[in-house]
Symmetry: C2
Subunit: 422 residues, 2 copies
């Protein structure tokens, strides 16, 4: 293990991210389970990429067959990728008609930004101040963005948990956050930048899955449209049934102009996509001549189609909603008896447990959240800490996480709470 | 076929790139061959991604086995990706010690630009005026760049073919191009931008595989280093035995500080990489906390290791050098009798045939090159036109292209020349 770690430091450079102070050496995956080199079984409650379960046989077979038949770029005609594009578009609202495939969520957001800027002729992109949308030079500007000059600017992420607390704003939360958005839009107009779009994760996953003032994103959409901009919904984390709905924008009740998708699309085969109206996509094609060598390939199509097959055949949308609701209801029962766990939020199989130092200050307790994550790992459950303050215990298992898995988890979780907080 | 085309226009938007005015519908690949829906066989002389041959059974088996065992992100320990990193680094010169994996060539060049800027504290990147290095907002600035202000600026691509012709510079080509580089470096210093690096494809593939004045890139390296910058070799097209050497920088006899790799690494499974000294990689890790969900995965490792296995076991490096030399020698024999084909260039299995309107003006004949590409397609050989003027017939088969394949091609090529040019 220490040998692997030192080889890793040499190969990747020290500082390459590794989970847990005592990292784990995973060698096999199956369903919701991961197994380490000593044969120890973990229940995976972190990974959203293998959303249909690790190494799902239908996905493995489909990709393997395709790799053995043909895998080439998209400048020849091929039926698989058309079928996949049609199926994926069909899961969206009627305004989503065409798609640009790429390989990573970063690339999908690059395309979305270029598409919005190209279509509007304006440069301004608005994000939140605690977002993460990818790792390229341009998309990274949206990460934890505090800018109020230039062509990327941020608003405070919408939330109600700390609203009204010490050092936090007062008044109506919806008015407050809409007011902030109005200010940034006005700033773009004043400075001659113009508004290309608002780009957000509809459930604000990296911000910590906050409870968002009701109607915020539909009101935001009206404001953005009035200013000539486009609504971009980053569904890389929120999409593909994670929330118990197909897309995060359904939970938040608004219709985006552009959607970006990634992580779970190919169950680990790199697949990402940016979808919009046919007009927006064609304008983008004309302006950029965008081409992505590995994207829209027969193998991407095989992976993507196989994931959709499994979701449909195994009724994962329904099971995510049911198991997720049960899990969050059970978790919420501990709020009264466990002071540090001040809030339980989320939707579907994506839950956030807010860890605080006390219920008066609501000061984020990042170390406390990490202690819970470590204690869960010791009991065989893989989770992580996240959110704007790193103090949120994030639960995000593959979508095949069952009622039995949820019950097994609750037993361990109760045990952890007893151990750590009496 | 027309049904596929209209479905494609709807799904991807009209304007999504498609080869040939009468596109082909490919359904199967094997070795150097692609087969269309009517069972027609084509010899693939275009694709560099499946460099070990379409659907190589060893690669298919390795990736399939891995997908069935484990495919998860790189924040747990896993041996496969370390083995692959070590093997890939081992193919490079001693100054290349550590690697950052990503999914596409674009992402690899994003990382290289961030790495060079982070390490030098300077912003200026130099490219050529007819390059292509990828499709993100920042990397796209290096495409056909004509800028001489800002933090990305270009030099004319080095070449000797048109040097001294009407409207072209006179004097010594090496002095001329080195002079241009000196000017741009001085401009960056004068404007307070500073030099982060020179980023080029070492064989200038998109520029049209020009004959480069001898010693240009080693002299350029000295100038770049003297100005505090780094040499970045984009090996996405040039690398992995394409030229009959492992890397394009070996052909050009210089040692880059940073290398980027992509296309052939995973035989169609998206794999890309940026490698450099451990110090450069660690500085990058510290400054960016870069993480790429699909990269450094067990499946990327399986694909990458399998490709290296095939190259080694099937002695592809040696065969590329031998077959490529034979092919270019045979092609060059037609230069005297075919006026439009004014130059035959390249190295290994990467050849460029320069099509001109006449031998005096050397005016590029893009339409002529396309006629050759179409005529070769009619005879069952897939090639393309490329280069700064689109007038170069590009021959770039998978590395498993054999002496027999080359002989079969020469028969067809002679036939095409007779047909088109008497």
């Amino acid at each position: 293990m220490s040998d692997l770690k030192s080889r890793r430091d040499a190969c990747f450079g020290a500082g390459s991210t590794l989970f847990y102070s005592d990292p784990i050496h995973i060698v096999r995956g199956e369903g919701v389970h991961l197994f380490d080199a000593d044969g120890r079984r973990y229940v995976d409650m972190y990974n959203n990429v293998p959303s249909v379960g690790h190494c799902h046989p239908h996905v493995v077979e489909a990709v393997s067959n395709q790799l053995g038949t043909l895998n080439v770029h998209n400048r020849y005609l091929h039926e698989g990728i058309l079928e996949y594009a049609e199926r994926l578009i069909g899961k969206h609202h009627d305004g989503i008609e065409s798609v640009v495939f790429s390989c990573t969520g970063t690339e999908a957001n690059e395309v979305a930004m270029m598409m919005a800027r190209g279509a509007t002729g304006a440069e301004g992109i608005i994000c939140t101040d605690a977002a993460y949308h990818g790792n390229s030079t341009e998309v990274d500007r949206l990460s934890h963005c505090k800018a109020n000059t230039g062509n990327v600017r941020s608003i405070p992420f919408p939330e109600t948990f700390r609203f009204g607390q010490v050092d936090a704003p007062t008044g109506d939360p919806l008015d407050y956050f809409i007011g902030k958005l109005t200010e940034v839009i006005a700033g773009f107009e004043r400075d001659g930048v113009g508004l290309a779009g608002l780009l957000v994760c509809p459930i604000f996953a990296n911000e910590g899955l906050p409870n968002v003032p009701a109607g915020f994103l539909s009101k935001a959409r009206d404001l953005v449209h009035d200013a000539g901009g486009l609504m971009i919904s980053d569904e890389v984390q929120a999409g593909v049934c994670r929330t118990g709905r197909w897309w995060g924008y359904e939970v938040m009740e608004f219709l985006p102009d552009i959607v970006t998708m990634g992580k779970p699309l190919g169950a680990g085969f790199p697949v990402a996509a940016t979808a919009a109206s046919r007009e927006l996509v064609e304008t983008f094609r004309k302006k950029t001549r965008y081409f992505n060598t590995f994207a829209s390939s027969p193998a991407q199509a095989a992976a993507g189609n196989a994931v959709l097959d499994v979701i449909e055949k195994e009724h994962l949308l329904e099971s995510v909603a049911a198991v997720g609701d049960w899990l969050r209801t059970e978790l919420a029962k501990f709020k009264d008896q466990c002071e540090p766990m001040a809030d339980v939020r989320g939707s579907g199989l994506f839950a956030a447990l807010e860890w605080v130092k006390d219920r008066v200050s609501l000061e984020p307790d990042r170390a406390g959240a990490i202690r819970v994550v470590d204690a869960l790992k010791d009991r065989g459950f893989l989770t992580s800490n996240a959110g704007a303050y790193g103090n949120v215990v994030k639960l995000r298992p593959p979508l095949v996480f069952s009622q039995n898995d949820a019950e097994e988890f609750m037993t361990a979780f109760e045990d952890v709470l007893t151990d750590l907080h009496g």
